[in-house]
């Protein structure tokens, strides 16, 4: 595991991505200390443009956008991680169970998974949220978690199926190890990279979906998160009156945080699948080789 982490961070993309994500986590943790203004106080004139005092301007209600974005980081990240965790746990549990036990168990779970994949996620979530009524961030996290595990389950199941027939698994079973031990100690460690990939992808998906749902009015307008900021901006016609900063701040936060996660995932994918790696040949070596210009291979 430590070796894997070391390889991961040696990769440039992963390092940048991790730095971005770490930055956001720090901001979320330190939100009350870092935000310059109280988010519930009117501290500026309505839709005041960005200035030295209010770096990201103010909302229609005169609240500081930067402070809201900082506090919103807290909410959005918590929901993102919680929902991402739920999705990953569910997906892994179902996928591994189906892949390991096979037979009837697999048939049922697989059918279940396929159905969940084929019913469109966002409309289902909206229906749930609409019927529940005013949904706070935790309910949103729950809704996302309970509907979006399908992709992870399918991918994990495929991996588990292919690893299932490996010798060390069969040997462990023949030695009489109970199923839960085989799964926990022999199977799961080899699924780490795919589980990690799913986890990070799920966080990204959850953060975006939460923002989208809140934007559409399904969140709790009293809570401050990137999504509710967008909702308020939309309902006060911020763009139409030219107060673009109110939309820009949460959008920027979403995009940068999302990019950080994507970079990490790209690196995880490269490491798990060596064929995808771009060969980094040291310049000296390459120069020595290309000097012999008549020695190109079949295809450069």
């Amino acid at each position: 595991m430590r070796g894997l982490l070391k390889t991961l961070f040696a990769n440039r993309k992963a390092a940048i991505g991790a730095a971005i994500v770490a930055f956001f986590i720090l901001v979320a943790l330190a939100a009350p200390l870092v935000a310059p203004f109280d988010i519930n106080q009117r501290v500026a004139s309505p839709h005041e443009a960005p200035s030295a005092e209010h770096v990201m301007g103010a909302t229609r209600m005169g609240r500081d956008v930067l402070s809201q974005t900082i506090h919103g980081t807290q909410t959005s990240l918590i929901v993102g991680f919680a929902a991402g965790l739920l999705v990953t746990v569910l997906g892994t549990a179902i996928g591994v169970t189906a892949g390991y036990f096979g037979g009837k168990v697999d048939e049922v779970l697989n059918l279940f998974t396929n159905i969940s994949l084929v019913i469109p996620n966002l409309p289902l979530m909206l229906v749930l949220a609409a019927f529940i009524g005013q949904t706070g961030p935790f309910v949103i996290a729950l809704i996302i978690g309970l509907t979006s595990w399908g992709w992870g389950a399918r991918v994990t199941r495929a991996q588990a199926l292919s690893l299932r027939q490996r010798d060390y698994i069969l040997a462990a079973e023949m030695l009489g190890e109970p199923a839960w031990r085989v799964i926990s100690f022999e199977l799961l460690p080899n699924l780490i990279s795919i589980i990690g990939f799913n986890f990070i992808g799920s966080i990204l998906y959850a953060v975006i979906t939460e923002a989208t749902m809140e934007f559409l009015g399904l969140g709790d307008p009293m809570v401050v998160s990137w999504g509710t900021m967008l909702y308020h901006a939309q309902s006060t016609s911020a763009l139409q009156v030219g107060a673009w900063w109110e939309m820009a701040a949460p959008c920027l936060a979403l995009v940068i945080f999302g990019s950080g996660l994507s970079l990490i995932n790209f690196a995880v994918d490269e490491i798990a699948n060596p064929r995808l790696r771009t060969l980094r040949v040291p310049a000296k070596v390459l120069a020595a080789l290309t000097n012999r210009s008549s020695n190109q291979g079949g295809r450069a």
């Binding site: 994949l117 084929v118 469109p120 409309p123 009524g133 975006i208 979403l254 990019s259």
Partner: protein, 325 residues
């Protein structure tokens, strides 16, 4: 053929599951949806409508299994009930009005994104590590991290408000009478341009990466080596040997992405006030028009299943190993 039949069976099962969700959700949720709807409708509903709604949502004396059977019957005869917000229109009428717009957005943007993304992915994979790949692949990733929400807002602001090149909403200019006139079609095109471009941008990165990775995974295969050894042209190798085989997993991902793009269409329509299914759903949610919301779920599920089925047919057509014999 057996393969396709099995898929159809599966889709029917999935549809029934969606219908079951529709049945269970209002009955399991706290509160009385009928009262909420009624309050929201503010007295525009006649008492017969109230009775019909109560029946739809199960606040009557029949046991659930009987209600379920009745409900399934109504679904399969496509009797989705009356809309509350758009009374006296039926849910079906509201949905059918909106469906063509969404279909146009989703299909056009998906096809454009698929074509461009796949071609770019082929190039990126073929010249691995080259300039196009080193710049293109990370950019595609960044684009994937941009939620359709952000892209729509950005597009709206930049090209409809800041530089008012395109209109800010609706499917066509309300001043123009609908009809088969050039003026009308131009208006449709102008209004659809930003939503389609937004949605295409949201998907193109994914298609690029899928095709690229799919191709890279098979570049070491024996038939590629043998193809090179035969002295085939670069183009023939790239298209008929590599891309043609890499297409298969890409088609599967196309079907899945199509489903996601329905969600994306939802957001784009709201931002651009585009009168498709997504916008209608949004209006339904705001008005707590539950029959409409439920009808939406069914129709979007149906659209997803159809897209998946088309992908299955395509897969059989493309992969000779799946055909009989």
């Amino acid at each position: 053929m057996a393969f396709l039949l099995r898929r159809v069976g599966f889709y029917v099962a999935a549809f029934i599951v969606a219908a079951t969700f529709n049945f269970l959700i209002p009955r399991l949720m706290p509160g009385n949806p009928v009262d909420i709807m009624f309050a929201q409708a503010g007295g525009t509903l006649p008492p017969e409508a109230l009775a019909a709604l109560k029946e739809t949502f199960g606040f009557i004396d029949q046991p659930w299994p009987a209600q379920f059977v009745a409900y399934l019957k109504s679904v399969f005869t496509w009797d989705l009930g009356l809309s509350v917000k758009f009374h006296p229109l039926t849910v079906n009428e509201v949905l059918l009005r909106a469906l063509p717009w969404t279909l146009m957005l989703v299909l056009t943007s998906s096809l454009i994104a698929f074509a461009i993304g796949s071609l770019a992915g082929i190039l990126a994979a073929w010249r691995r590590g080259g300039r196009f790949d080193s710049i293109g692949a990370p950019i595609a990733l960044m684009m994937q991290a941009m939620p359709p929400l952000v892209t729509s807002l950005l597009a709206l602001f930049l090209f409809a408000i800041y530089w008012p090149v395109f209109p800010t909403g609706y499917a066509y200019d309300p001043e123009i009478d609908p009809g088969f006139t050039l003026e009308f079609f131009c208006s449709i095109f102008k209004h659809a341009f930003l939503p389609i471009v937004t949605m295409a941008l949201a998907q193109v990165g994914g298609y690029l990466i899928t095709m690229r990775n799919s191709m890279i995974n098979l570049l070491g295969e024996d038939y590629i080596v043998l193809g090179t050894a035969k002295g085939l042209s670069d183009r023939r190798l790239r298209m008929a040997y590599a891309a043609r085989n890499a297409l298969l997993p890409t088609v599967t991902s196309f079907a899945m992405t199509l489903g996601a793009s329905f969600g994306g269409a939802l957001v784009t329509e709201v931002v651009f006030n585009y009168p498709g299914l997504g916008y209608t759903l949004f209006q339904g949610i705001t008005a707590r028009d539950y029959p409409l919301i439920q009808g939406q779920l069914l129709i979007m599920t149906l659209a997803m299943l159809t897209a998946n089925f088309i992908a299955d047919v395509l897969y059989v057509a493309l992969d000779p190993r799946l055909r009989k014999g």
